[in-house]
Subunit: 137 residues, 4 copies
């Protein structure tokens, strides 16, 4: 099992007036990790969307915000996909602070369901996605 | 029990290249409802933060994304706070599509914990917040 | 001439770690005013985009950031479109602080050019947009 | 003169329902380049803000949006600071598309003024910033 790791610097625009990253922004940062993991596997999100009549929206998310993050901070986003059934998968994200020592800043899970873009009924995941999940598991 | 209702128009900047509101953005929109509910109760978030050495970060969030939302769409965000213990509370948000008929677009729960801004230990919720939760319950 | 006025509350997610609205966010807020002005004229942005093979991207923006804005602050965005030529128009936005007394928080101008979505060549503005500009001038 | 170059991948959250990067987002991306350039010079923005009673807000911005950018696209942000006077400087940003060949996606200029955080009067730029501008010019 290879967990994909996406290094990320916290930007000023990620923060809010409390001086730290806005809670919803942790989910955007996790999604960047998903995009990078897919892209690393030869599956750029933009191609994948223009695909064959299917879309894979996020149906659920859960997040535990464990530590605040500030501008300039270096983090690593771990991206671990998990098969749920023929038409759906989850992703476990861990956002790691890297200094002074590695500590979890957040733990996030997203659930993704593959549907027909017209009928919006569940359909099996494309083989390429299946392959990506299999290789990561 | 009075549930606070916050009307909101979906903006172009809320959407992504899939043509609908980006999943993390549902949480930002819910947070706006929280700000409006507090403000309506005479508790503007900005005052409240400049307060007496306490902060109330979001510790957890859970979201079910039930229906896509598009630019120009009118929604209503329902905001229902729930006491958990002396130092924490949750908020149940329901995002309602309003046309053609009322349907749930998302259900979100956030958990908020009151801590000392220096020691980061749990402390009791300020009376004003307690009062807001009580009145809403 | 009727200048369209869009009231807006500053949200926590508009701010950054300096405690005030992030500079780029002033432009997003102005764009909301543009959407509301069009919608008020019966021209919802989302319809208008699904239109007849044309798009109207923003070609330029200029902004003077005159005063900081904080969470909870009430502002008004004035939206004044100006014809430039057959295929383009500008919009002058003024963001007004409303308390304690009305003062300009920012002055923004955007330039919009109507192009064919396939060839990306300039084409005349649709009559409905023309009409909106005329009525505002 | 060394122009700082910041490589950046376009994320899904940068885009809007037109399928391309939202115009205001170009400015956020440019600002990331500014943060990276300062950080590279040993001047992390977050330290710099906690500084000695001064702040350096953005007073103006100008942007020409030359080409659309899509999710997954690789760009480079060039960051070139220019002294204006004792208390202010500008930054010229060029956002470069990198494939299939290098083309400008946007040209942005921001103007920054150093002020006392209490009186909000202009004060001379800190030596470290001065030094950064000098070295880049």
């Amino acid at each position: 099992m290879t967990v994909f790791r996406y290094p990320r610097t916290i930007h000023f625009s990620d923060t809010d007036a409390a001086g730290v990253v806005f809670f919803a922004r942790y989910l955007s940062i996790a999604h960047e990790g998903y995009e990078e993991a897919l892209s690393d596997h030869g599956l750029p999100l933009e191609k994948f969307f223009a695909d064959n009549g299917i879309i894979i929206p996020i149906a659920k998310s859960e997040a535990s915000y464990l530590r605040p993050l500030v501008t300039g901070e270096q983090i690593v986003v771990e991206v671990a996909p998990i098969r749920i059934d023929d038409s759906s998968f989850a992703i476990d994200f861990t956002l790691w602070k890297t200094t002074p020592k590695e500590k979890r800043a957040a733990v996030i899970r997203t659930a993704h369901v593959c549907i027909d873009s017209t009928t919006r009924k569940k359909v099996p995941l494309p083989e390429a996605i299946d392959n990506w999940i299999g290789q990561s598991a």
